[in-house]
């Protein structure tokens, strides 16, 4: 540490901090979807990473389509792609719930195995459709480049954009889950399925739409992901464990906890990465999480309930 002057350290922290913010945005978008599926519904969705990849591949597909057929549309396609990514992932999620998940609500450990199987099938589909190589869409001009407040600090614009997108989605999820009638029925269904059914909530329909919403948000995460890294068939697998850690560490049913834990995990990893190798940064971050969870199994911000 002595080798760096204090002003250099500030720059390092600022830049690694912003690098961490890109990671934070993707992790948070992933975790928001998973917090709904796992935290609210109790389904261990191991295919969540693949739903993210669906979003990423959709974005890639639309980018290639725009590039070859409607070059004039290039500057605007990305916003459109985000919406399509949401819709495609949500529709797939809807069918996955219908075909698979709804039979397994009473056996949470089995959802883990079934969705792992689903994730393998999805991975192979990506490989057959888009090839085994990693792909990345051509980004519109305005997303490239960086903003430079001082000599030594570069802040990439795509990171800022993704952060804005994340903030928007987070607010939307908050509104939907905690301020709308629909969110009320979702929370009622997960707390007491029988009673919710008795007061006239169509619990099966709620389950299906909730799962689809979670997958759709993963799709948005995928679209955001394309701005910071390239997508391959196994991209989803790389993020699934981290995402689960974010949700568990934050406390399964707490939106604020999810945000706080995504932020601390992403920042810890990104800042450590500068000083030690990337793999050791990951080891230390995960190890710290496991140790904290051993002493505080319910996570950072758990809602107090009797089990």
């Amino acid at each position: 540490m002595d080798a760096y002057t204090s002003s250099e350290l500030v720059s390092i922290f600022a830049m690694q901090g912003f690098a961490g913010i890109s990671l934070f945005s993707v992790l948070l978008l992933m975790a928001l979807g998973l917090a709904i599926i796992f935290g609210q519904m109790g389904v261990i969705n191991m295919a969540h990473g693949e739903f993210m990849a669906v979003g990423a591949y959709t974005t890639y597909f639309i980018a290639t389509l725009t590039e070859t057929h409607f070059p004039a549309f290039m500057p605007y396609y990305f916003v459109f792609a985000i919406m399509v990514a949401f819709v495609v992932a949500a529709i797939l999620g809807y069918f996955a719930e219908y075909a698979l998940i709804r039979h397994l609500y009473k056996r949470p450990l089995d959802t883990l195995l079934a969705t792992w199987g689903l994730s393998l099938i999805m991975q192979q589909s990506f490989r057959s459709l888009f090839g085994a190589r990693e792909v990345s869409p051509t980004l519109p001009e305005w997303l490239l480049g960086s903003y430079q407040p001082t000599e030594t600090i570069h802040i990439p614009i795509n990171g800022m954009f993704v952060l804005g997108l994340t903030a928007f989605v987070t607010l939307a999820v908050y509104y939907l889950m905690y301020r709308s009638t629909w969110g009320l029925s979702v929370r009622a269904t997960t707390q007491n399925r029988l009673m919710s059914g008795a007061v006239g909530i169509n619990t099966k329909k709620i389950d299906r739409y909730t799962f689809a919403l979670g997958c759709g948000i993963a799709g948005i995460a995928g679209a955001a992901f394309t701005t910071i890294a390239s997508t391959g068939p196994t991209t989803g697998t790389l993020y699934i464990v981290d995402t689960f850690m974010v949700v568990v560490f934050g406390g399964a049913a707490s939106l604020f906890g999810t945000i706080a834990s995504a932020f601390s995990i992403a920042q810890a990893q990104s800042i450590l990465e500068f000083f030690i190798s990337g793999s050791m940064a990951k080891v230390y971050t995960l190890l710290a999480l496991v140790l904290i969870l051993m002493f505080k199994p319910e996570g950072l911000f758990a809602s107090k309930i009797r089990r």
């Binding site: 397994l104 393998l120 192979q124 057959s128 464990v241 850690m245 793999s279 496991v290 051993m294 199994p297």
Partner: protein, 383 residues
């Protein structure tokens, strides 16, 4: 006698299953397969240790561990470290800049054997370490989790994260662990060439004997009072706790025992395959081990072995001829085994097996009718 029959073998059904399995792996496969294929079966059977451990842990204990690869890896790496040290004697490694240390350390500019490698030059220590280190590690994890009543889903996720940590650590610390390539080029065990055909045969039979003893030991645990309590914990944990049992200790014990079994499998893997790498430690192999147990039947010790053999044969055959299809198939299998036959092959046998055995009985009855009475009488007298 009844102790052996009831407790170790699990009654008539368990005994027949055990004898059929033992005949299959000890007699039929060695007679009909060439040494290459037999070595492959031996490799699959080392995974069966982990599958059997998951039957104990998940089927009976209701604890889904997605980290059996951790213990399989610890056992495998323990054995690999011993073999590697033997392979890198100062004479063999004279061309290195530091002779006497494993080659990958030399490539990574390490000039001294790290402290945790030192004791692995002793065979006795290695054997003890293979059994004790995974069990101790499992105790640490188990005590921290089960004493705080963390279980189910959370336990599965935490064990998975630990598997990730271990893999990243092994891959990242290339100089100390051999990195992504693992520990390779293992040739001799106490001066005995382990790559020869005769050694491979011997390891195969040692492996089978160990696997069968592990099944007997597990059966003993399950048929004892301990096994009943374990099953009770899975059904109604609170009620067992209210009856005055310390549930956590039961879970910790079975977790440690399962870790030890998996580690034996890992050590046998290294001996038969001749290397160990992080690709047998992480999430994917750990989940595959769960699917072996699930396909075989999560409540059946013997079924787990068949499940392992079946899936691995399928994997070898399909990934040789239709690599595209394999992931679709195994993915579909995951889904099918959960949705359609949650008790796996063993469950299918319990449900439909009597049709087959009835057919046999029918044939033998018919046979008796056709046979002249005089011959039957003679047979009876002879007995």
């Amino acid at each position: 006698m009844s102790f052996v029959y009831e407790k170790l073998m699990g009654g008539k059904k368990g005994l027949t299953g055990f004898i059929i399995l033992a005949t299959l792996i000890l007699v039929i496969l060695p007679v009909f397969l060439d040494s290459f294929r037999l070595n492959l079966v031996g490799k699959y059977l080392t995974y069966a240790f982990a599958a059997v451990s998951l039957v104990l842990l998940w089927g009976y204990g209701g604890i889904l561990s997605l980290g059996q690869g951790i213990f399989f890896g610890l056992g495998g790496y323990g054995m690999a470290m011993f073999l590697k040290l033997e392979a890198s004697s100062p004479e063999n490694t004279a061309i290195q800049s530091t002779p006497g240390i494993p080659d990958f350390m030399d490539w990574n500019q390490i000039t001294e054997l790290p402290w945790f490698w030192e004791p692995f030059s002793s065979f006795t220590f290695t054997i003890i370490a293979i059994l004790v280190v995974p069990a101790a590690f499992a105790y640490l994890i188990g005590a921290a989790m089960f004493k705080r009543r963390v279980g189910g889903v959370y336990f599965a996720i935490i064990t998975q994260v630990i598997a990730v940590i271990l893999t990243v650590l092994i891959v990242g610390q290339q100089g100390l662990t051999g990195g992504i390539n693992g520990i390779t080029d293992l040739r001799t065990l106490n001066g005995w060439d382990i790559t020869s055909d005769s050694a491979k045969y011997i390891f195969y039979f040692v492996n089978c004997a160990l696997l069968l003893s592990v099944i007997v030991a597990s059966r003993f645990i399950l048929t004892s009072k301990f096994g009943r309590i374990l099953l009770a914990v899975q059904d109604k944990e609170d009620r067992v706790r209210f009856s005055g049992y310390d549930v956590a200790n039961f879970k910790i014990f079975v977790f440690c025992f399962a870790a030890m079994i998996s580690a034996i499998g890992g050590a046998m893997f290294t001996l038969q395959v001749g290397f160990m790498s992080p690709s047998f430690v992480g999430i994917v192999p750990s989940i595959e081990m769960v699917i072996f147990a699930a396909v075989g039947g999560r409540m059946s010790l013997i079924g787990a072995v068949y499940g392992t053999l079946l899936i691995n044969f399928g994997k070898t055959v399909f990934s040789e001829s239709f690599p595209e299809l394999w992931l679709f198939l195994i993915g579909g299998l995951f889904i099918a085994v959960v949705m359609l036959f949650p008790n796996g092959l063993a469950g299918l046998w319990d449900d439909y097996g009597h049709h087959i055995t009835n057919k046999f009985r029918f044939i033998s009855k018919g046979f008796r009718k056709i046979m002249p009475q005089a011959v039957l009488k003679k047979l009876k007298d002879a007995n």
